[in-house]
Structures are given as C-alpha cells and as structure tokens.
C-alpha cells in the first residue's frame, strides 16, 4: 500500500461506509472542482477493473457493484491522502479489496473459516497423499493434457473460463487467498495484512489452494484429452 498504515486503517473504515463527512476534501472552490474532476476520471478509468476484482472476491454481481460504489465513495472521502496517479491505481484497488473483505467477513460462514486452519478437510482428496515415511502414496496419473504448451492452453477461452470456475469452487479461506495472490497480484505481506492473518498462514493456504487447483485441473485436462 502506498498510503501510511494509519491512513489505510482509516480508508478501511470508509470502505465499510462509516467515514465521517468531515473527511471530505477541504480547500477552495478551484481545488474542490479539481478533486471532483479527478473523482469522475477515477470512476471512469477504474470501474471496469474494480468490478472484476470485486466479482472475483464476492462471487455476486449485485454485491460486487455495491462494493465498487462503496470503494469509490471511500476513496473520494480520502482524496487528500493520495499522491499522484501512479499511486492512485494501487490505492483505489486496495480500498475495493478491503470493502470486499469486510463484506465477506459479514457472511456468516466466512469468519470461522478465516480464523481456522482446519480447512484442509474441505479440500479432501484434492491434496496429495503420502505414506507414513513421507513418500508419495500413489503415482501421479498420466496427464496428456499437461503436455500441451501452457501458452496454447491459456489461449483457449473455454479453458480460461473453466480455470476461473475452478478457482471459485475452492473453499474459503483458500479461495480468497489465491484470488488475492495469484489473480490480484497482491504480495504475501499485503494479503496477510488485509486478511488479518499471519504471513505463514497466507503461504500455507496459497500452497494448498494451488495444490487443490492443480488436482482439479489435472482431472479436467485428462478427461478432456480422453474425450
């Protein structure tokens, strides 16, 4: 994040919709007009990307649009704290992510999962199994689909869509960590701070999410190749 941590916490509060009106930008009419123009430009420039981010995190189009709106209003309330266009993109993106995470936390089932590391049971057979001596319990299935060039696979739109569906099928909190790290490209440290968990927890959940996704993808590719 580009803003100081104290500002980030404040921005997080605003993203939840409880920012006091006194936080709106101050100054003369000219400065206000300038800020307003920046706000309109901000909305028009970033709505598309933020909408995608919010949809990925919330899996609900209506709620995602609400979160996008909340993020822009929260950003406007703190326009004074950003410094230049280069920082703005990252800043508004983080506000939107924070708005989504607050919404996710409000979902009844999410909070207990977020606090627990017992979610591997949910991943079930998607994680590799090992013998007591630590060696692999079963050979990897032959996966002819994996022999295709990844670039070639990525250009197949239906496969891209299927990968996104598989990501969305991951259990919380693994899905959220994978979305933040591998799709939204946040750092491990940023992800840990936004989720309020330890860095090691982020690493563990990301690794297990990728393993589970690898297994699901393998099944898809093998099945597709056999079809």
């Amino acid at each position: 994040l580009n803003a100081p941590s104290a500002e980030r916490e404040d921005v997080g509060a605003s993203a939840c919709g409880d920012a006091p009106a006194s936080h709106a930008p101050q100054g003369g009419a000219g400065e206000r007009a300038s800020k307003q123009a920046e706000f309109v430009a901000l909305v028009r420039a970033h709505t598309g990307r933020l909408r995608r981010t919010c949809r990925r995190l919330l899996q609900d189009e209506v709620e995602a649009d609400d979160a996008v709106q909340e993020a822009f209003l929260g950003a406007y309330a703190h326009l004074h704290s950003y410094r230049g266009e280069a920082q703005l993109t990252t800043w508004i993106h983080r506000i939107a992510v924070n708005a989504c995470l607050m919404r996710l936390r409000r979902r009844i089932a999410f909070t207990p999962a977020l606090e627990s590391d017992d979610c591997d049971e949910v991943l079930g057979t998607l994680l590799p199994r090992y013998l007591e001596d630590g060696h692999r319990a079963e050979p990897l299935p032959a996966g002819p689909g994996w022999t295709l060039a990844v670039d070639e696979l990525a250009e197949r739109r239906e496969l891209c869509e299927r990968v996104r569906q598989l990501v969305q099928s991951l259990p919380e909190p693994h899905r959220t960590v994978l979305v933040l790290r591998d799709l939204e490209e946040l750092s491990t440290e940023e992800t840990a701070a936004l989720l309020g968990v330890r860095i090691n927890a982020v690493k563990t959940r990301l690794h297990r999410a990728r393993q589970a996704l690898r297994t699901m993808l393998e099944r898809e590719l093998v099945r597709e190749d056999l079809a």
């Binding site: 009106a21 709106a24 007009a33 307003q36 123009a37 706000f39 309109v40 909305v43 028009r44 970033h46 709505t47 598309g48 990307r49 909408r51 995608r52 649009d65 996008v68 709106q69 822009f72 209003l73 406007y76 590799p128 090992y130 001596d133 630590g134 060696h135 692999r136 050979p139 990897l140 996966g143 994996w146 990844v150 670039d151 696979l153 990525a154 739109r157 496969l159 891209c160 869509e161 990968v163 996104r164 990501v167 994978l178 591998d182 799709l183 690493k203 990301l206 690794h207 990728r210 393993q211 996704l213 690898r214 993808l217 393998e218």
Partner: protein
C-alpha cells in the same frame, strides 16, 4: 544427511518457487528432485497451474467493462453524499 521425502519437498515448494529456501535446504531439495521423477512432474504441473491461473486472470481482464449504469449510479451516490453534482 538423508534425502528429503516427497512430502517435505512439496511442503517446501512455495518457498522454493519464491526463492526463499535456505541454501542447505535448497541443496537437499535439489538432491531429491534429481532422483524423483514424480516430484519433477508434480512441480512442473504446479508451475503450469500457476501460469494457467494467471493466464485466466489476464483473459478475464480483456473483458473489463465499466457499464454506464454503474458509473452513473456511483456518481449519483457521490452527489447524494456530498450535495453537489459532479462536474
């Protein structure tokens, strides 16, 4: 020193890909991979999974849209909150 097991190697995989393995562990990691085709395959497909995930994300980004109704709703909400129309 004994070879790492498959379990230990795969547990280290995230740190390996982030180049965060301590050198002595990295040596043991490489020693295991040199003699374990199954782990070689697993690591390769794990990397490909990551590439496909990122590729799917980039593919999705190509379809980014800022629908005018949503843009207008945001600007209208701003107007309600601040009592003045955006320019």
């Amino acid at each position: 020193m004994s070879l790492l097991t498959c379990l230990e190697v795969i547990d280290c995989l995230g740190a390996y890909l982030d180049e965060e393995l301590p050198p002595p562990v990295r040596v043991r990691f490489d020693e295991h991979v040199a003699v374990c085709p199954a782990c070689v395959d697993y690591i390769a497909t794990y990397r490909q999974t990551l590439q496909l995930t990122r590729g799917a994300g980039e593919d999705e980004a190509r379809e980014d849209q800022a629908p005018e109704p949503l843009v207008l709703a945001i600007l209208a909400a701003w107007e309600r909150e601040h009592g003045e129309p955006p320019p």
